[in-house]
């Protein structure tokens, strides 16, 4: 059987200290990745991944994004994400946290990454562990959204 195989990239966009972070969404990220592929890899690069690339999920709180690409040329997409310097004018550091072939692993990685980031926020805020903050609710809703993703 010749199955169509994908790669799921879990990307975190780390905002740099300069400039105000404008609100991103899935479409802006897709557009930025498209520009990056066209600039760095040309029409050939865009042609090999353009039909299959999809931004499946984006969370503004933790700046996490899930992108699905076809497996054959996923390295071009990965390289283009790395070579991205700015989205809509503000500079970011793209950090590909996890790459997998199934959506299940990506979901698990995304949920554990969210938990780490929230833990880091909480450690910086230095609140006591009994304090109920809005992060708890965010973790639940984001986990539900991530679990709801399908192929």
């Amino acid at each position: 059987m010749v199955r169509f195989k994908n790669r799921w990239l879990l990307v975190e966009f780390i905002p740099t200290s300069n400039g105000s972070a404008t609100q991103l969404d899935g479409y802006k990220i897709w557009e930025a990745v498209r520009q990056s592929v066209l600039n760095n890899f040309g029409d050939v690069g865009w042609g090999s991944i353009g039909l299959s690339i999809n931004v499946k999920y984006y969370s503004p709180t933790t700046n996490i994004c899930i992108i699905r690409v076809a497996r054959d040329h996923h390295r071009i997409a990965w390289g283009a994400v790395t070579l991205l310097t700015a989205i809509e004018g503000t500079r970011y550091i793209p950090n590909v946290v996890h790459v997998s072939g199934t959506i299940k692993q990506t979901q698990l990685a995304a949920i554990s990454h969210n938990r780490e980031v929230i833990a880091r926020f909480r450690a910086q805020a230095k609140t006591s562990s009994a304090y109920k903050d809005s992060y708890e609710e965010y973790l639940k809703t984001s986990a539900m959204e991530i679990e709801a993703l399908h192929d």
């Binding site: 300069n18 390289g79 790395t82 070579l83 310097t85 500079r91 550091i93 950090n95 590909v96």
Partner: protein, 357 residues
């Protein structure tokens, strides 16, 4: 364990106002006093924090010098800085000196035994050759094992090299243990170290990116992926990338996945260990220790085996002048059949060793 062996650091008093077109090509006069303002130290701390956050554990702060190292003018800007940084457990910070070689350096650029004391505090020495003759100097003369070996050759990747790199030069350099460095900041078209830009060894912009891909592919082809390390050279914070992303970028050059991974992990690791040989006498890991073999000196015992404590055969780094301890081992291993005789043998051997020295 991920390495970033090129984190550029500038002289705190060196401002762009001092650079004039007249001074281009000459060594810029650096004030002898190296004092860092708290803001500058905080900036370096923030950069290190970000590097640690992205996953790098070993970082080398890089001081770049143009054309030649003049003993009277040279100041070590890193010593002062490192003392002021807060201690980070688990993170290693190294000191590196990079010398940009241009046509004027062909006659000599200060990497001589006379100036050895200047180079001793640096853990790594790197050269940036911009002409064919300086490349052959770097690959042949300065890759020879000595106290002054330049272990890293960082070609100016964003320049259009007007000379063809010869495979024989590269091969000799690799055999002697030097590595070729790839700075990923060129692929992003990012801002380069100002000293490099002044020296004409780096550019930024659209043509810089194209040159980067061309030159890096050439370097990868010549080295066949073996003596390569990848490092940052990043000045602007937003150009930093995680080690995995950088590995993937290197894969796009045509390098195999395992070679790309080793270029950011095992290759720099062995480089750093190899560079430690510069701190030893004649690049042998520790001073040779003279041991008199049993049979040559008149002793009552005949049956003991001579101990080999010449350091060349052992890769044990920490063995310094402790040859006596090595000699004590064989008598103990033989068992305690003859207690008092054993101890007398030990004493005699110690005495003999001391006499022989």
């Amino acid at each position: 364990m991920f390495f970033d062996l090129n984190v550029p650091v500038h002289h705190p008093q060196h401002s762009s106002a001092q650079i004039s077109k007249k001074n281009k090509g000459k060594q810029a006069q650096q004030p002898a006093e190296v004092t860092y303002t708290p803001a500058q130290v905080a900036a370096v701390e923030a950069r290190l924090d970000l590097l640690v956050h992205l996953g790098y554990t070993v970082v080398a702060l890089n001081q770049t010098v143009q054309t030649a190292v003049v003993p009277k003018v040279h100041v070590n800007i890193l010593e002062n800085l490192i003392q002021q940084l807060k201690p980070r457990p688990g993170i290693v910070i190294l000191k590196r000196l990079t010398i940009v070689l241009d046509q004027e350096s062909e006659k000599g650029f200060g990497l001589t035994p006379a100036n050895a004391s200047i180079f001793k505090p640096y853990d790594l020495i790197a050269l940036v050759p911009t002409t064919l003759s300086t490349l052959s100097l770097a690959c042949l003369t300065h890759s020879q094992p000595s106290v002054l070996t330049a272990h890293i050759i960082a070609l100016p990747l964003t320049l259009r090299l007007d000379f063809r790199m010869k495979h024989t030069l590269v091969r000799t350099a690799l055999k002697n243990g030097t590595v070729f460095e790839i700075n990923y900041v060129g692929a992003l078209g990012g801002e380069n170290d100002t000293v490099l830009v002044e020296a004409g060894a780096a550019e930024s912009g659209a043509s810089a990116k194209r040159n980067w891909w061309a030159t890096t592919k050439e370097v990868t082809r010549l080295t066949k992926g073996k003596g390569l390390i990848v490092s940052g050279g990043v000045v602007a914070e937003a150009d930093l990338r995680t080690p995995r992303d950088v590995s993937n970028l290197i894969t796009l050059l045509g390098l195999a996945q395992d070679a790309a991974h080793s270029a950011s992990t095992s290759a720099p690791k062995s480089l750093v260990l190899r560079a430690q040989t510069r701190q030893t006498y004649r690049t042998v890991f520790s001073d040779p220790v003279l041991v008199i073999p049993e049979g040559t000196m008149p002793t009552p015992s005949v049956t003991s085996t001579p101990t080999i404590s010449s350091s060349d055969t052992r890769s044990d780094k920490k063995r310094s002048r402790e040859g006596e301890e090595g000699e004590d081992e064989p008598p103990q291993k033989k068992g305690n059949a003859n207690g008092p005789e054993n101890s007398s043998r030990k004493k005699k051997r110690k005495k003999n060793a001391q006499e022989g020295r």
